[in-house]
Amino acid sequence: MLIVACVKQVPDTTQVKVDPETGTLIREGVPFIMNPYDTHALEESLRLKDKYGFRVAVISMGPPNAEVTLRKTLALGADEAILLSDRVFGGADTLATSMVLTGAIKKLAEKEELGIVMCGRQTIDGDTAQVGPGIATRLGCSQLTLVDRIEEVDIKAKTIKVRRKLEGRHEVVSAPLPAMIAVLREINSPRYPSVPMRLEAEDTSIVLWDNKVMQMDEATIGLQGSATQVRKIFSPERAKGEILGGEADKPEDSAKLLITRMIEKDLLSL
C-alpha cells in the first residue's frame, strides 16, 4: 500500500523581505528549504512505513531546483521522489496546485493501491492550509486535518484512527482509507539523515513528470487554472513597541504594570 507525501520547497521566510517600492518578495540570495510542516508529514509517512510496511512516494510541484529538497526526502528514507515541473504548472494558486498534485496521486494510484496522502498543515510561504483539503476533495477521499497523532492503521479493514487537535480539546476519529491527513508539527520530531542514506540519495535520479507525462487540461492548471490572483504584497505597518517596567523596582511591580496595560488595551479576555 502506498503513502504519497506531498512536500513543497519554500524560500526560508525568516530571510525573505518585501521590497517596499515594488511590493514584491526579495528572493535573491534567499536559500530554499523544505517547508517545515512537510518535514513532519514526511517523518510520519516514514514512521508508518517502518511500522506497517507502506511504500512512501514523495511528490512536489515546483521549479527544477526543487530537486534538492526531493533528494533530501530520499536521504531520509522515501522510496521514490517525483518532481512535477512544467512551465504550464507555474503561477498556480491553491486550487490549481491541488489539481496537479491530485493528478499525480491518481497516476501513482493506477499502479499501486493508495492508502494515505500525507500533507503538512500549511506552507510557511502561502500559509493557506488549503492544498491538503483541496487534494482530499478532488480525490474524493477521507479528509483528516489538524492531526497530532496517528493512533492506528488497520490495513485489512482499510481504516485509520487519528487524533485531531482542536481548540481546547482533542478528537479521536476513524476514517476509511484512502485518506488525506494534514499533520501538525507536534505530531513527531523529524529524523536526521544518515551519511550512507545521503550518499545513496546523491546517486538516485529524481523522476520528472512534466505535462507531457501528466496530460492535464491546461485550463485547469497553472495561472490559467487559478481562481485567485495576487494583486499586491506588502508588509503590514506595525505600531511602534513600548518598553515597560523601567520605573518598577521589583518583578511583582513589573508584572502588575504589564497586566494593567494589557487590560487597558483589551488584550486579555476576562
Binding site: D12, T14, K17, S189, Y192, V195, P196, L199, E200
Partner: protein, 655 residues
C-alpha cells in the same frame, strides 16, 4: 648437564612459549585496526621515546611520579641483571658476571644491589600510598595492583636472599659490594650447612617469580610495561588538535561503531593505559560527577577488543551502548568537551579525544542518533550556517553604527572573521565592536565578509557531524579563495583553531591569528598605545582550551592584561596547560548538561576563590558560560566578565 639445569630449561621454554603465545594473541588483535602511518620521522620518534618514555617526562610532573621514575629505572637496570640470571641458569659455568674481573663484577654487583633496594622501597611506598593517600581512582587497590607489587617485592626479596645465602656461605666474593645482601647475610649463620640449599631455594623463587611476572604482564594493566615505551615512539608528532578527515564514498564506514574500526594506534593506546587515572583527574566531566571518565573510556575499548576477540565476525559485546565493562554508554560519548586536558596529562600520550569524536561520528553519521537538542543545531548549521538559525542578514547588525568596510582583495590586508557568536550573540557583539575600535586605532587595514560570512563548522566537527562540516569547510575555503583572503583575524578561539588547524587538511594554509595574539603583537610593535592604569579591579584570566591547550597561547593574553592594567592577572588554581574547561567546548555549548553538577559553575567557583573583580576571557563560549555561572552563584553584581578585547578597548587613550 645437571638435573637443575634440565629442569630450568624446561621451565624457561614453557614460560617463554606461553609469553610468546600471549603476545601473539594480544598484539594480533591490534593489527585488526585500520592503518595509520606512525613510522615516519623515525628520528623524531626515537627522540620522543627517549624523552617521554625513558625520561619519564610527564610521569614526574606529579610528585608521586618520582616513585615510578625510580622503579622504572631500577627495572631497566635490573633487566641486565635478570638477563644474566636467566642465561646463567642455562649455562652456570660459562655465563656469569662473576667470571668478569673483580672491578667490573664488583661495580655491577653494587649497582644491582642498590637498584634492587630502590625498587623494593618504591614498591613498599606504592603499597603504603594505596592505603594512605590513594591515587584518584578506586581500582588503585585492585587485586591486579597488589599482585604485581607483590611479585616485584618478592623478586627483590628473593634476589637479596639468594645473594645473602651465597655471601654467608662464602661462595660469592662480591660480599661487601652488595651492602643490602651483605647486611642480610650478617643475620645468617656463616658457613652453616643449609646455606647452599637456601641459595638454591631463593634462586628458584627468583626464577619462578620473574617468569610468572613476565607471563602476568599481558593479562593485566601492567601490559603497559610492554607497550608504553613503543606508544611514546608512536605518539602523534604534533599536538593532537584536530580529527582526521573521512572519505565520503558509498560503502565506507563512518566513524567507529565497532572496535576494529579504530586505527591500530587507537587499539594500541588502550593497551598502553597504565590506569594511573591522571586523565580522569583532569577531566571536567569526571570532576563534575558525570559518567564519563577518560580512563574508563580507554579501558572499555581494551576490554571490548579482548572480550570480542574469539568471536569471529559476530560481536557479542557492542562497543557502544552495551552493559558493563567493555562497552561505552552513549551519554558518556556526548559528555566530552574535547578540552584536551586528558591528553595533556597522559604520561604515555593516549589520544582520548579523537577516539570519542570517532564514536560520535558513528552515532551521528551512521545511526543518525544523538541528543535531541542537537537536531536543531544540525539543521540550523546546514541551512543557515550558524548555530541559532538566525537569518544571515543579521550578521552585520553589530556594525550598524560603525563604519565597517567589506573585505576587498588587494585593498584589505586582514579579514576580520567575526564568527557566529561575535556577530549574532548580543553579549559577544560588544567584543566585536571593541575589536573594531582597536583595529581602527592601530591603523589596521581590515574588512569583513558581512552577511556572506559562514560558520567555520567547529561544533559540527567536534560533535561528529563530519559530513556537514566538510561541506561547510569546503564552502568557506572556496569563498576565501574567490575573495583572495589570506590573512585572517578571529575573535573566537574555535574559529581560530578550526581555520588554522582543521582547514589545513584541505590543503589551504591560511595565516590565522586570534585577537589575543594580534593585540599583543600590536602592543609590542608600538602600534597600539594603551593607558596602563585601567581600573577594573583585580582581574583573573581564564584560559580557553582551544587557545591554550590546543594552540599553546598562554602568555599573549597575560601580557596584554599587564599592558592594559599595569599588573599581571590573578591565576586560578588550574591554569595554562592545566586549565579547566568552561564546559562549552566540543559542541557542549548546544547541549543540556543533565548529569552531575555544572562545569561552568565549578569553574566560576574556582575563580571566585581568588576574589576577582573581573574575569577576563578570550572566547565567546567562555563568556556565556561565565556569565551564566556567575548568575548561578549570585555573584554577577560583584564580578563582571569581560573579553580581553573589551579590556583593551577600555584602555585606549582618549583622542
Amino acid at each position: 648437564m645437571t638435573a637443575t639445569v634440565t629442569a630450568f630449561i624446561i621451565v624457561l621454554i614453557l614460560a617463554i612459549a606461553f609469553f610468546a603465545y600471549s603476545c601473539y594473541q594480544r598484539f594480533g588483535l591490534v593489527l585488526k585496526g585500520k592503518p595509520d602511518n606512525r613510522f615516519n620521522a623515525i628520528g623524531k620518534r626515537l627522540w620522543n621515546m627517549l624523552f617521554y618514555a625513558f625520561g619519564q617526562r610527564r610521569v614526574v610532573k606529579k610528585p608521586f611520579g618520582i616513585n615510578h621514575f625510580v622503579l622504572f629505572w631500577a627495572f631497566m637496570i635490573l633487566l641486565i641483571s635478570n638477563t644474566e640470571f636467566l642465561l646463567n641458569g642455562l649455562a652456570p659455568d660459562t655465563i656469569s658476571f662473576s667470571l668478569l674481573p673483580d672491578g667490573a663484577y664488583f661495580t655491577l654487583a653494587l649497582i644491582f644491589d642498590i637498584m634492587s633496594l630502590l625498587a623494593l622501597i618504591a614498591v613498599v611506598l606504592a603499597i603504603i600510598r594505596r592505603f594512605t593517600f590513594p591515587p584518584p581512582y578506586t581500582e588503585a587497590k585492585s587485586r591486579d595492583a597488589f599482585v604485581i607489587l607483590g611479585l616485584v617485592a618478592g623478586l627483590m626479596i628473593a634476589f637479596f636472599g639468594m645473594n645473602a645465602c651465597e655471601i654467608a656461605a662464602g661462595t660469592d666474593r662480591a660480599g661487601v659490594w652488595m651492602p643490602v645482601a651483605n647486611w642480610v647475610a650478617s643475620w645468617l649463620p656463616s658457613g652453616a650447612a643449609g646455606l647452599d640449599t637456601g641459595a638454591q631455594v631463593c634462586w628458584w623463587f627468583h626464577a619462578i617469580i620473574l617468569l610468572a611476572f613476565l607471563n602476568y604482564l599481558p593479562y593485566s594493566k601492567h601490559m603497559h610495561v610492554l607497550t608504553s615505551i613503543p606508544n611514546c615512539f608512536f605518539k602523534a608528532l604534533e599536538k593532537v588538535k584536530t580529527q582526521p578527515r573521512e572519505e565520503f564514498k558509498k560503502g565506507n564506514t563512518f566513524g567507529v561503531g565497532e572496535v576494529e574500526n579504530f586505527t591500530w594506534k587507537g587499539l594500541f593506546d588502550s593497551y598502553s593505559c597504565t590506569e594511573c587515572g591522571r586523565c580522569s583527574d583532569a577531566c571536567p566531566a569526571t570532576f563534575t560527577g558525570k559518567p564519563l571518565q577518560p580512563r574508563l573510556f580507554i579501558h572499555d575499548i581494551k576490554m571490548n577488543l579482548l572480550k570480542n576477540a574469539d568471536k569471529d565476525g559476530h560481536k557479542e559485546l557492542p562497543l557502544i551502548g552495551g552493559e558493563g565493562e567493555g562497552s561505552v554508554k552513549e551519554e558518556v560519548i556526548w559528555e566530552c568537551t574535547t578540552c584536551g586536558a586528558c591528553m595533556e596529562v597522559c604520561p604515555v600520550f593516549i589520544e582520548h579525544v579523537p577516539r570519542i569524536v570517532d564514536m560520535r561520528r558513528h552515532l551521528v553519521e551512521t545511526k543518525a542518533k544523538f541528543p535531541e537538542e542537537l537536531l536543531l543545531l544540525f539543521e540550523n548549521m546546514e541551512q543557515r550556517s550558524n548555530p541559532w538559525g538566525i537569518a544571515p542578514a543579521e550578521r552585520t547588525k553589530w556594525a550598524a553604527d560603525l563604519d565597517v568596510k567589506p573585505f576587498e582583495a588587494g585593498k584589505t590586508e586582514y579579514l576580520f572573521y567575526v564568527g557566529c557568536a561575535g556577530a549574532l550573540d548580543a553579549r559577544n557583539r560588544h567584543t566585536t565592536i571593541s575589536l573594531a575600535k582597536i583595529f581602527d586605532k592601530a591603523g589596521i587595514s581590515w574588512g569583513t565578509l558581512g552577511r556572506d560570512e559562514m560558520c567555520c563548522g567547529d561544533s559540527l566537527r567536534r560533535l561528529g557531524n563530519e559530513y556537514v562540516f566538510e561541506k561547510m569547510a569546503q564552502a568557506n575555503i572556496k569563498m576565501f579563495a574567490e575573495k583572495g583572503v589570506k590573512k585572517i583575524i578571529t575573535q573566537c578561539p574555535h574559529c581560530f583553531s578550526t581555520l588554522k588547524n582543521d582547514y589545513r587538511q584541505y590543503g589551504v594554509e591560511l595565516e590565522v591569528v586570534h585577537h589575543t595574539e594580534f593585540i599583543n603583537q600590536l602592543i609590542r610593535e608600538g602600534r597600539l598605545k594603551l593607558k596602563s592604569d585601567t581600573d577594573l579591579g583585580k582581574i583573573i584570566y581564564h584560559d580557553s582550551c582551544y587557545l591554550g591547550r590546543y594552540n599553546g597561547i598562554y602568555e599573549a593574553p597575560r601580557h596584554v592584561i599587564a599592558s592594559a592594567t599595569g599588573s599581571a592577572p590573578l591565576e586560578m588554581e588550574r591554569s595554562r596547560d592545566n586549565g579547566f574547561c568552561c564546559g562549552a567546548g566540543g559542541g557542549r555549548m548546544w547541549m543540556e548538561e543533565k548529569e552531575g553538577s555544572l562545569i561552568n559553575v565549578a569553574r566560576v567557583e574556582e575563580a571566585l576563590k581568588k576574589e576577582p573583580d573581573t574575569v577576563c576571557v578570550a572566547c565567546p563560549y567562555c563568556m556565556t558560560m561565565f556569565d551564566d555561572g556567575l548568575k548561578d552563584k549570585e555573584a554577577s553584581d560583584k564580578v563582571r566578565v569581560l573579553d580581553l578585547a573589551e579590556i583593551v578597548a577600555n584602555a585606549l587613550p582618549d583622542e
